[in-house]
């Protein structure tokens, strides 16, 4: 790669538009994801963050625009080029998306078995190293159905990083987890960035973890990126949309008691 700007950004998204029938899901998205850092894409459900993630992963073809990642424009690349790029990324899905017909260990070893000619012993040690990273060494022989939600997420993370990807995507890491498990996972994401130098993209709506892990935040609303910046910049933002997302909307004080009563009872 030539020039510094190329090496500093891992993913460059320009003028990305996604239409679904007459509905516009993503409206002219521009975003630079810096390499070696954690970028959190936040927003409420329906804001378009999942669609954005699916576009970046090549799972959804955008209507127009470009997504440059690992030297390929994912938006226009052929299936073959997309597959080549995908070998250098890891994705941990929201529910884990582990294959239920296999054990945890087999799940994690699968990419190695499909893409490399490594010795059986090497594959086994590699998968155990990754299992140890997510603190699940004892779960190697468990079936996926036996895992709790938090374990499934950690196993999914181990599978995502088995090929030592340059880029890691994590969909809703802390959704549906108890606070201590969520915090553990947040810490793990930070460790991966620091120790392995990965670029990490996290899509979430959980405010607690956003400000703990993010180097950069992109706030989405109704298919637009409302604002991007460091956590400090975002929390200091005066944009009412962002204030609305950060603090819950205050409850209106009841002025008209009759109207409120009618609202609750349906008025009979």
């Amino acid at each position: 790669m030539t020039g510094n700007t190329q090496t500093d950004t891992a993913i460059t998204i320009r003028n990305l538009v996604v239409d679904y029938g007459p509905r516009r899901i993503l409206n002219d998205i521009n975003l630079d994801i810096p390499s070696g850092q954690i970028m959190v894409i936040m927003g409420q459900s329906g804001a378009g963050k999942s669609t954005l993630l699916r576009c970046i992963l090549g799972l959804k073809k955008p209507t127009s625009g470009s997504i440059h990642m690992l030297g390929t424009d994912i938006a226009t690349a052929s299936q073959k080029e997309i597959y080549k790029a995908r070998k250098q990324i890891g994705v941990a899905f929201q529910g884990g998306a582990l294959f239920s017909s296999m054990t945890v260990g087999e799940n994690i070893e699968l990419p190695l078995r499909e893409h490399t000619n490594l010795d059986e012993k090497t594959i086994q040690i590699m998968s155990r190293i990754k299992l140890d990273m997510v603190n699940m060494l004892d779960a190697e022989h468990l079936m996926v159905a036996e895992l709790s939600g938090g374990m499934a997420k950690r196993a999914a993370l181990a599978r995502a990083i088995i090929m030592d990807p340059k880029l890691l995507f994590f969909d809703e890491p802390s959704a549906g987890l108890d606070p201590s498990t969520a915090a553990e996972l947040d810490q793990l994401i930070i460790t991966l960035k620091i120790s392995l130098g990965m670029t990490i993209v996290v899509v979430t709506h959980e405010l607690d973890s956003i400000f703990k892990i993010a180097d950069h935040i992109a706030v989405m609303k109704d298919g637009n990126i409302v604002e991007t910046g460091t956590p400090q910049q975002i929390s200091a933002s005066t944009n009412p949309e962002i204030q609305g997302l950060l603090n819950r909307k205050p409850r209106e004080t009841i002025v008209d008691t009759d109207a409120h009563l009618r609202r609750l009872t349906g008025g009979f």
Binding site: T116, N117, L118, D119, K121, T122, I123, I125, M126, I129, K130, D132, M133, I162, M163, D164, T191, I194, S195, L196, G197
Partner: protein, 110 residues
């Protein structure tokens, strides 16, 4: 990646350089296991390694286990900062015998 095994007095020295990744770690594994078969202690010099991925580390781990079973000394020399971070993350820094000079390893041999 390049790896050369040199027979020193009383031990083998494996000099490793470049990037150790999925493509080259099978070669590394073969060299390590081959050298251990001769029954000599093995010291692996990682000074010129610019990158090592988990398949490379897995090969080092397998070598260590093999050395242990055949009761041979097995050490890693001049491990770089980045590689060290990976080892720390997987708690392997506590397992391996790490050396910062050849003399240190020789002392251990005696």
């Amino acid at each position: 990646m390049e790896c050369n095994v040199k027979s020193e007095f009383g031990y083998d020295l494996l000099e490793l350089s470049g990037e150790v990744d999925l493509q080259f770690s099978p070669q590394l594994r073969e060299k390590i296991l081959g050298s251990l078969k001769t029954g000599n202690p093995l010291l692996i010099d990682l000074a010129k390694v610019s990158y090592i991925d988990s398949s490379g580390i897995a090969s080092l781990v397998e070598g260590f286990q093999t050395a242990k079973t055949s009761k041979l000394q097995y050490g890693l020399l001049n491990i770089s900062n980045t590689a060290m971070q990976v080892l720390t993350l997987t708690r392997l820094d506590k397992i391996f015998d790490l050396y910062s000079s050849i003399d240190q390893f020789k002392q251990k041999l005696q």
